[in-house]
Symmetry: C2
Subunit: 136 residues, 2 copies
DNA sequence: CCTAATTCCTCTAGCGGCTAGAGGTTCAAG
DNA sequence: CTTGAACCTCTAGCCGCTAGAGGAATTAGG
């Protein structure tokens, strides 16, 4: 049986975060000691890895709750969650690419040693950027 | 003179958000009416556009405060802020690209009509992903 | 077996960047 | 002058944690 600290060390997830996941209904402990301390087994370890991985992928807690509520074989439900999130990620990448281009333009605006600064002006200037970012 | 609502309509920034920016020290109103309502001029409009643009670019409030504190010509200080943020954006794009690849793999895991679901398994499986994402 | 150090417990509050609502005042049009 | 829209301040909530207080349990060493 693993203590919450053991679980933390093995997964790299901080102790308060593990308790937070439990509070969110993602990771109930296998049991408690007489003194009320959480104990986890192998299943808990795997489940936390699952949660952590999904979080790293950017899935919100809510989506993870949906996934973990599935009994482990209900693909028809799991698949659209993954797909939805994939298109979400792609949208974010596109947005960031636009920002990257523009920030590069801004950062370049004063690389030389010209007279007046144009970096600040570039920050305020939305007209020059092709991509219509933001305002979401 | 523009009311806060006028400013909101012209920039697309919501009224409470404008008040929030003021609270954060980014956008002091030009003045107030006798009845204590905020009034803005052209400068306020430009400043809000600047703030909004910088926010769209992902700059944190703190960085924007640094920028707006510059008197408008201190490029030596503005430039590193832009550069720092550019590398930040690039890092985020790289991370997202890794996640995209992995989510695509996950979403593909059960596209067919095979027997067992692998989408869920793929969510929990960190070993198969080349990119070492997350854990930051 | 006892002590001391470490880990654990719960609870509350804070972060950033807003957003929403209550409850009251001021403004502008008719 | 009346109405209704827009304004004011203040407080609380969102997400996903993170940090700290104050106290109880566990574990290692003597």
């Amino acid at each position: 049986m693993l203590s919450i600290g053991d679980l933390s060390r093995r997964t790299g997830v901080k102790v308060p975060t593990i308790r937070y996941y439990e509070q969110m209904g993602l990771l109930p402990p296998e049991g408690r000691t007489e003194g009320n301390q959480r104990r986890y087994g192998h299943a808990g370890l795997e489940r936390l890895a699952f949660i952590r991985h999904a979080r790293d992928l950017g899935l919100p807690i809510e989506a993870i709750r949906e996934l973990t509520a599935l009994d482990g074989s209900d693909c028809a439900k799991a698949h659209p969650i993954a797909k939805r999130h994939l298109s979400d990620i792609r949208r974010r990448i596109e947005a960031l690419r636009g920002l990257e281009a523009e920030l590069a333009r801004i950062a370049a605006a004063c690389d030389g040693s010209e007279g007046a600064c144009r970096t600040l002006a570039a920050f305020g200037d939305h007209d020059r950027c092709e991509s219509s970012h933001g305002r979401s």
